[in-house]
Structures are given as structure tokens and as C-alpha cells.
């Protein structure tokens, strides 16, 4: 319980409107998008200025109360599930785009700016901010940086990390820390931004973020290739990369996902297809034409039985609508959806697709697989009902098996959803005991009171 006197103190420093103490309000910040048990926080604050944000962090620090920063709460690994009785700091009241420089190709934003709104503002100036996580319509840039969010364009354009030029954040005492700059090059001081990106709120609280922008590509070409063997699709992915072509997006969908989408949207997808690839190349028109022709050739050589090339913007939209509805279509089949993101080196995609099929059979589960095959980041999606205890047990075993297979193939536990609490206990399978100890020491040095989102990423020291 947070004492009344302290609640008054928060109200005095942040304003009454910014403090939510009622149980019913607190309950609505007990969860995120990961299928985990909700945890009731002790207080929720929603600062609307940098000073108020710093004051909130400072009050938590002075009183030794754990705090969890929350943007839109779309986290898929439980990173924004609070500590019991802890404080949730909601950042969506800090939502200004502070600078947008066309000449210098950067922008400075507050953490609560919604990703899609930012991308649209950037595009209106003929520029491009490529990271496009699936939740971009609601997710915040602060959350994207804290999770090192990815998206459909990771293959060619990288992920959020590749666009963070600088950060201004508060440490556990509420002091301002600055790292990076507005310049293309910066070799000043430690690269703290590198440490903070993907730190899931465990090392600092973002106040301002400087993001890199790039020119908008002049042309795109989208296409859809249908295969009657899943290996045909996954081998094509490996072949495209091996041919030194880097498409902007290279997405995979298995038969289960194709059928789910078709049942749901009647988009005219081939339900008998074993797998599909959705591919888009972009860049200079001449380059796009050449790449598209070569990709087409490679698809056919690896057994694509049909290939549809989008002739105009409407057809292009249709291709991506099919991909975007994948999650919705799967979500409608069962109450609980476990969206995993174990990632492998892209040449191992055929092995991973096969492994997921074996795991689905072994644990008798429905798993739809789709995702960013081009960067090795598949989304095996387990459909279940959390209330079915027996099946949930098998789901947990299957998740562990997926992790093990991905690691065996030289991959990683998480491509873009983060470690959070869902994957913290698997960290030792990928790294070493010393790595965890090293991380714990960093955490302890920078946050001695252990108030910054404790328990996320690294297991608490013994």
C-alpha cells in the first residue's frame, strides 16, 4: 500500500489530474498484451511535462517504490506488468514531436508519441521512419525504444535500435542523463543509448528521444508467391538473400494461417497452398524493376506454383491487407493467443519451419506460423484457451521447445518482443551464468535501490 501522505505528495508535484489512486483505475494498468496474470499496482501517475516525469521518478526513488513505465501497454513479454503495489508511470501524456528536421534528417520526440502518428508526420515531409511494429497504430516510440521493437521492414531497414541517435533520460534518482547527439557521427562518452535501447525500463526513464530519418524510397513492387511445399517457400527466402537481394519485406505464411485468413476475410487466398511469401522490393525504379524480376525468377525456380505481381497501389494494398489480417484471423479462433518471436539466422528458416511443425504435432497444439521470414523472425502463434489447464501445460512445454530449437539453430529467444518476465527464466539457455551476473552488476550499479522495473529481463540476484 502506498500511504495517503505520499499520494498527496505525488498530487502536489504532478497535479491532481495526473494521479490515479482508485482501485478501479489501478486495475486497468495491471496487464499488458502478454498472456500473463495481472498484477495490481499501488498507484498510477500520468505526467504531462518533463518536470512532472522527473518528479515522479524522484519520489519513487526517495521512497524505494518500484516503478514501471508504460506507453500503450502493448508489450508481448510482460515488460509493462507492474510490481505488486508499485507505481505505473504512463507516458502517453508526453506526446509532442519537438523537432522534425528535413535538412539534418532527424527528429526529437517525447516518449508518448504514437509510432504511426510519427511515421505519418515524417512521411508528410517526404521522409521515412521505417520501424513498423504490428502495434504501431497505438504503440509509443518510448515503448519501441525500450523494447527495441522491430516490424516488417527489419530485413532491409533494421529495427528501432538503428534509428536512435540520442537519448535524454532520468536515472533512478530522477537526474537527467544525456547521450548521443543530433549529429550523424558522435564518439563522445560512453554509448549509453546502446545500453538503454531494449532495456525495458530497467535502467532509466526516457524523457526525449532523437531519431534518425531517411529519404522515402521512390518506388515499390509487391508480389505474392504460392507454394505447395512449405520448404519451397522457406528455401526461396534463403535463396533470395543468397542472391544478394534485400527486399524491404519478405513475409511468410503457413497453410494454417492462410486458411484462417481466408475463412475470416474471404480475400480469395489459395487455401490449398502449403505456404505463401509476400514480398516487396523498394528503391530506385530501375533497381526495383530488376530486383522484382530476379525475385520472380527465384520463386519459380524453387517451385512457386503461382505468382501474383501487384500492378497498382490497390493490388499492393490487397497483398498487405492479407498479411495484416493474419493476427486478427488467428485471434478469432481461440480465446488465448501466444505470439512467440524466437528468431534464427535466416538461412535456417527452412529448419525452423520444420521444427515448429514437429513441435505442434508433438504437443498436439494448433500453431499458425507467419512472420518476417526475411530476417529470420517467425511468429509461431499458439492458439489455446488459458483456462484449459492441461492444454496450457502443453503450451508451456511447446514454448520451451521452440526456444531450444531456435537456440540449437544459432538463433535467439526474442527477435522483437523483448525478454520481460515471460522469457527472463530462459535467459541462461542462450547466454552464460557470467552474462547474467554481469547484467545484474550493471543493474545494481545504476539502480542500487532496484526501483526501475525490477524483475524484468534478468532474474533477481540471489
Amino acid at each position: 500500500m502506498i500511504p495517503q501522505t505520499l499520494i498527496r505528495e505525488f498530487e502536489a508535484r504532478l497535479g491532481k489530474e495526473a494521479v490515479l489512486a482508485a482501485e478501479a483505475d489501478r486495475l486497468t494498468y495491471a496487464y499488458d498484451a502478454a498472456p500473463l496474470e495481472p498484477v495490481l499496482p499501488g498507484l498510477v501517475v500520468r505526467p504531462t511535462s518533463g518536470e512532472a516525469l522527473a518528479a515522479a521518478v524522484r519520489l519513487c526513488g526517495e521512497n524505494g517504490i518500484p516503478l514501471t513505465v508504460r506507453g500503450a501497454g502493448t508489450n508481448l513479454s510482460g515488460g509493462t506488468v507492474p510490481l505488486p503495489g508499485g507505481v505505473v508511470i504512463v507516458t502517453n501524456g508526453l506526446n509532442r514531436i519537438l523537432e522534425l528536421h528535413e535538412e539534418d534528417l532527424y527528429a526529437v520526440v517525447e516518449p508518448g508519441v504514437v509510432t504511426a502518428r510519427f511515421a505519418a508526420a515524417v512521411q508528410a515531409r517526404g521522409l521515412f521512419y521505417p520501424p513498423d511494429p504490428g502495434s504501431q497504430a497505438v504503440s509509443t516510440l518510448g515503448g519501441n525504444v525500450a523494447e527495441n521493437a522491430g516490424g516488417l521492414r527489419g530485413l532491409k531497414y533494421g529495427v528501432t535500435r538503428d534509428y536512435v541517435m540520442g537519448l535524454e533520460f532520468f536515472d533512478a534518482r530522477g537526474e537527467t542523463i544525456k547521450t548521443g547527439s543530433r549529429t550523424v557521427k558522435c564518439a563522445t562518452g560512453y554509448n549509453l543509448a546502446g545500453l538503454l535501447v531494449g532495456s525495458e525500463g530497467t535502467l532509466g526513464v526516457f524523457h526525449r528521444i532523437t531519431l534518425k530519418l531517411i529519404p522515402l524510397p521512390a518506388a515499390q513492387q509487391a508480389m505474392m508467391a504460392v507454394f505447395d511445399r512449405p520448404e519451397g517457400a522457406s528455401e526461396t527466402v534463403a535463396a533470395i538473400i543468397a542472391a544478394r537481394i534485400v527486399p524491404a519485406t519478405l513475409e511468410f505464411m503457413d497453410n494454417f494461417t492462410i486458411r484462417a485468413i481466408e475463412d475470416y476475410s474471404h480475400a480469395g487466398l489459395p487455401v490449398e497452398a502449403a505456404a505463401m511469401l509476400l514480398i516487396e522490393v523498394d528503391g530506385h525504379p530501375a533497381q526495383v524493376a530488376e530486383d522484382a524480376a530476379r525475385v520472380e525468377e527465384l520463386c519459380r525456380r524453387h517451385g512457386a506454383k503461382s505468382l501474383r505481381v501487384a500492378r497498382d497501389a490497390t493490388e499492393r494494398t490487397k497483398v498487405w491487407e492479407a498479411r495484416r489480417s493474419a493476427l486478427s484471423a488467428l485471434a478469432k479462433l481461440k480465446p488465448t493467443l501466444v505470439l512467440e518471436d524466437a528468431t534464427v539466422p535466416r538461412s535456417r528458416i527452412p529448419d525452423m519451419v520444420r521444427a515448429i511443425g514437429e513441435i505442434a504435432r508433438e504437443y498436439r497444439l494448433s500453431i499458425g506460423t507467419f512472420g518476417h521470414a526475411g530476417d529470420g523472425n517467425l511468429h509461431p502463434t499458439i492458439l489455446t484457451d488459458k483456462r484449459d489447464r492441461e492444454e496450457w501445460g502443453r503450451v508451456e512445454q511447446a514454448i520451451a521447445a521452440i526456444f531450444d530449437r531456435a537456440l540449437d539453430l544459432g538463433g535467439t529467444l526474442s527477435g522483437e518482443h523483448g525478454t520481460g518476465i515471460a522469457k527472463a527464466c530462459f535467459l541462461d539457455r542462450e547466454t552464460t551464468a557470467a552474462t547474467i551476473l554481469y547484467s545484474q552488476r550493471i543493474k545494481k550499479a545504476l539502480d542500487p535501490g532496484n526501483i526501475l522495473n525490477p524483475g524484468k529481463i534478468i532474474p533477481a540476484p540471489a
Binding site: 486495475l27 486478427s328 488459458k386
Partner: protein, 439 residues
């Protein structure tokens, strides 16, 4: 007050629908209330979590949950955008009823729903009485919008610019009608709806004129009641059922080919909520009626063959899509086609014409500041088109938009699409209600 375990038992009926929400949070992108407040309790995911929390005994504050459930426009934007297809409105309406049953209705609401709304004649008389006094208490403020404001300090009106009660409501102008179709024309039942009857009778007159013009037979029974949505959203299932029963008795689906209304909210209530929430006894009739129910624009364009071709003109109109037409029923092309059929208009679309206007029925009464903030954005987008008229197929939206335009001092008229179309017809028909057959 019964114990919380009993409440949990009642809420358990919602469990199968509640588990469908996977907490993805995509509803945050479209909720008009959340866009203003940024508070999770204001968006569907938060409200569903609250119901779940009450059900799972994570919290023990039914009043707190009820209060937060009521901060909702019931616009359905979240449901239309939900990846998992959560039946958000159905859950919210049932939960409001369960909570009202458990906590009791507030006395004022109870008196209004049970003593007035559920008794159409009493309601009619009370409002006719009120319309006499409104001249003393209100003065016109905007001639083009047609609004008034209070002459005296009236806390309940909170500075609203309201469309006054009609001096003569529609049910006085045309108490009932039963006229056969011309030739093979369809037989059409007309459900008036409270706001059309008492504030916008000219819309009903326009609709009948158009139906007459196109040779439709008309079935308009006397003694119609409210569609029940105010009671239902207030959690008063008893009054809702009473009104559904009363109306079902008047409208025998065997007597007509289609039932039309000029109110998006009535249409959506008749079509979706009557069959979903009416008692066992009346279910077959409610279903049969729902099958035949449609919006007036939809009926005219899709079934009566009203077609464009009259040519565009210089007068600029913009269209606001009511949530209960576009999001609930998928109707948005037809009102535009009807205006095109009227001729003389250039349609200039506003930004996001299907964003909610912020009215939400009782939401506007309980949370006027929020409602106004949402409505102002709508007004800005309307004004930005440079239009002379904004057309919308819902009298509740017409009220809200009139208030917002009038407070901003805009010279933009608010019309129902059927009014624009009726105005384009030659003066051939007699006054509605005359019962004169067109031959």
C-alpha cells in the same frame, strides 16, 4: 445490497464473451474518449479488464466499475476495429444491466425510464407541456443552425445551444396512416423515434413525402414508443423490455415489406439489440422485424431505386457518418447516393467523416465537457470543408453537431439526407398524413 458473490455469479454469464479480449490494446487507436483523456479505464480494453477483475474478485468496487463503464459513447468504434472480434457493445449493455440490477438505478434515471419513457403517451404529454414553456425560458441564438439557448442561468443546460422541441410534434401532425402502395410498390412501415417525433418532425415529413412520391404504401401505427436504447444503456432492462413489447405489438412484420427509420440509433437498436436482448417470448417476432428493418437512405437507394443522375451543383454539402449507421450497420454509401440523387450539391468530404461526434445519448448529459471536446473536433472538420450544409442520418448527431456549430457561430445548416432529397422533388404530394393516394 446483495453480496459480491451474487454479483460475480451474474457476471459469470459474460465470461465466455470477456475471454475473447486478448488485451492487444488496438482499441486505443479509435476510441474518441480515450483520445481525449489517455486513460485506460476510458477505453474498451480497460473496461473489459474491470469487468474481468470484478468477476475474478481482483477488486470489490462495483460502483467504481459502473461509473467507468458509463464513460463510454457506445459508438462501437472499438468493436469495429477489434482484431479478436470482441462483442464490446453487447458486453457493456449487459454489464450495465447487471450492475444496475445489483446497485439499483439512480432515482432520477429510474423515474425517467420507468414513469416516462416506458409510457409513450405520458412522455408525449410531458414534452408537449414543456414545449409551451420553452419559449419563455429559451431564446434563439443561431438562425441558420436553428438553435436556442437558455435565457436564464440553467446549470442543467451548461451553456448548450439546443434544437428546441417542435411546437407540434410529428405524432400530432400525423397520428397514424395506412395507405396502400401504388401498383407493385412496397409496403413500408415507418418507425418514428423520439427525437424525430419531438425535435425533428420535418425529417419524418420529408421521409413520408419521398415514400409517397415513389409510390410506397405506408404503415404508420399510432402510439409508438421509444426504441428503448436510453433505458438499455442506463441498465434498465425492465423499461427496455416494456418498450420492445409495446412496439412489437404495433408492428406486425406480416403487414409490411420493410420497416424504415430516419434515426441511425433506432435502426441499429431495432436491428441488432431487439433480437439480441428481447425475451424468449418475443424473439421470433423481434427477429422477423429486424430482418426487415433498415435505414431510410438504404431503403430508398437499394430497394426503391432512387438513383443519382441529377447532376452536381454549386452548393457544398458534407456528410457526417453516424456510428450507428457506418460502424454498426455498414451503411455509408447510401446517404451520399441519396444526396447525389437530390442534385444541385457538391459533396466535399471532411477529414474522418466516420469519427464519432461525441453525443452518445446520455453520455452527453453526464459528461458534457468530454462530449463537447470530441464534438469540437468534429465541428472543426465540418467547418474546414467550407460547406453550407452538413448532412447526417441520425437526429442525435444532428443535436450534437447543431450545438457545436452554433457555439462556434458557424452559418452551416444541419440536415438529414432525406430532407435534401425531399426538397428536390416536385410539389406533387399532399401533406403527409392527409392519407391522399397518389394516382
Amino acid at each position: 445490497m446483495a453480496d459480491l458473490a451474487a454479483l460475480r455469479n451474474l457476471l459469470r454469464r459474460l465470461e465466455e464473451e470477456l475471454v475473447v479480449c486478448m488485451r492487444c490494446g488496438m482499441c486505443q487507436a479509435v476510441c474518441p474518449v480515450f483520445a481525449r483523456t489517455g486513460r485506460e479505464a476510458d477505453v474498451a480494453r480497460g473496461k473489459l479488464a474491470l469487468l474481468d477483475g470484478l468477476l475474478q474478485a481482483m477488486i470489490a468496487d462495483p460502483e467504481g466499475v459502473r461509473d467507468r463503464l458509463e464513460r463510454c459513447l457506445l459508438c462501437g468504434s472499438c468493436a469495429a476495429n477489434c482484431p479478436s472480434g470482441v462483442n464490446v457493445l453487447g458486453i457493456f449493455l449487459k454489464a450495465r444491466a447487471i450492475l444496475a440490477g445489483y446497485l439499483g438505478l439512480p432515482p432520477a434515471k429510474k423515474a425517467i425510464f420507468r414513469r416516462l419513457l416506458a409510457h409513450p403517451r405520458l412522455l408525449d404529454r410531458a414534452l408537449e407541456f414543456a414545449s409551451v414553456f420553452q419559449k419563455l425560458l429559451a431564446r434563439p441564438v443561431n438562425e441558420i443552425v436553428g438553435t436556442s439557448c437558455s435565457r436564464i442561468q440553467a446549470p442543467l443546460l451548461a451553456g448548450r445551444h439546443f434544437r428546441p422541441l417542435a411546437a407540434v410534434p410529428f405524432h400530432r401532425r400525423c397520428p397514424s396512416r395506412e395507405t396502400p402502395p401504388r401498383g407493385a410498390g412496397p409496403r413500408v412501415a415507418f418507425f418514428t423515434g423520439c427525437l424525430i417525433d419531438k425535435i425533428f418532425p420535418s425529417v419524418a415529413e420529408a421521409a413520408l413525402r419521398v415514400l409517397d412520391h415513389h409510390g410506397a404504401g405506408i404503415f404508420l401505427p399510432a402510439g409508438q414508443g421509444c426504441c428503448g436504447i436510453p433505458a438499455l444503456s442506463g441498465g434498465d432492462l425492465e423499461s427496455f423490455h416494456r418498450l420492445v413489447d409495446l412496439n412489437l405489438a404495433l408492428f406486425d412484420p406480416a403487414r409490411f415489406d420493410a420497416l424504415v427509420t430516419c434515426c441511425a440509433t433506432c435502426t441499429s437498436t431495432l436491428k441488432k439489440l431487439w433480437p439480441a436482448l428481447s425475451g424468449e417470448k418475443h424473439l421470433p417476432r423481434a427477429r422477423a422485424l429486424a430482418e426487415k428493418t433498415m435505414d431510410i437512405s438504404q431503403f430508398l437507394v437499394r430497394h426503391l431505386g432512387v438513383a443519382s443522375g441529377a447532376g452536381v451543383g454549386g452548393r457544398v454539402v458534407t456528410v457526417h457518418d453516424p456510428c450507428h449507421l457506418r460502424k454498426s450497420l455498414g451503411v455509408f454509401l447510401e446517404p451520399r447516393e441519396l444526396i447525389a440523387a437530390a442534385g444541385g450539391w457538391t459533396l466535399r468530404e471532411m477529414e474522418a467523416p466516420d469519427d464519432c461526434c461525441g453525443m452518445g445519448g446520455s453520455f452527453n448529459l453526464a459528461h458534457y465537457d468530454l462530449s463537447k471536446a470530441i464534438g469540437r473536433l468534429k465541428r472543426e472538420r465540418i467547418a474546414a470543408t467550407g460547406c453550407e450544409v452538413v448532412a447526417t442520418g441520425c437526429p442525435a448527431c444532428m443535436l450534437q453537431i447543431s450545438d457545436m456549430l452554433s457555439q462556434a457561430g458557424d452559418a452551416i445548416a444541419v440536415r438529414h439526407p432525406v430532407e435534401l432529397y425531399a426538397a428536390s422533388l416536385p410539389e406533387e404530394a399532399g401533406p403527409p398524413g392527409s392519407g391522399r393516394l397518389l394516382r
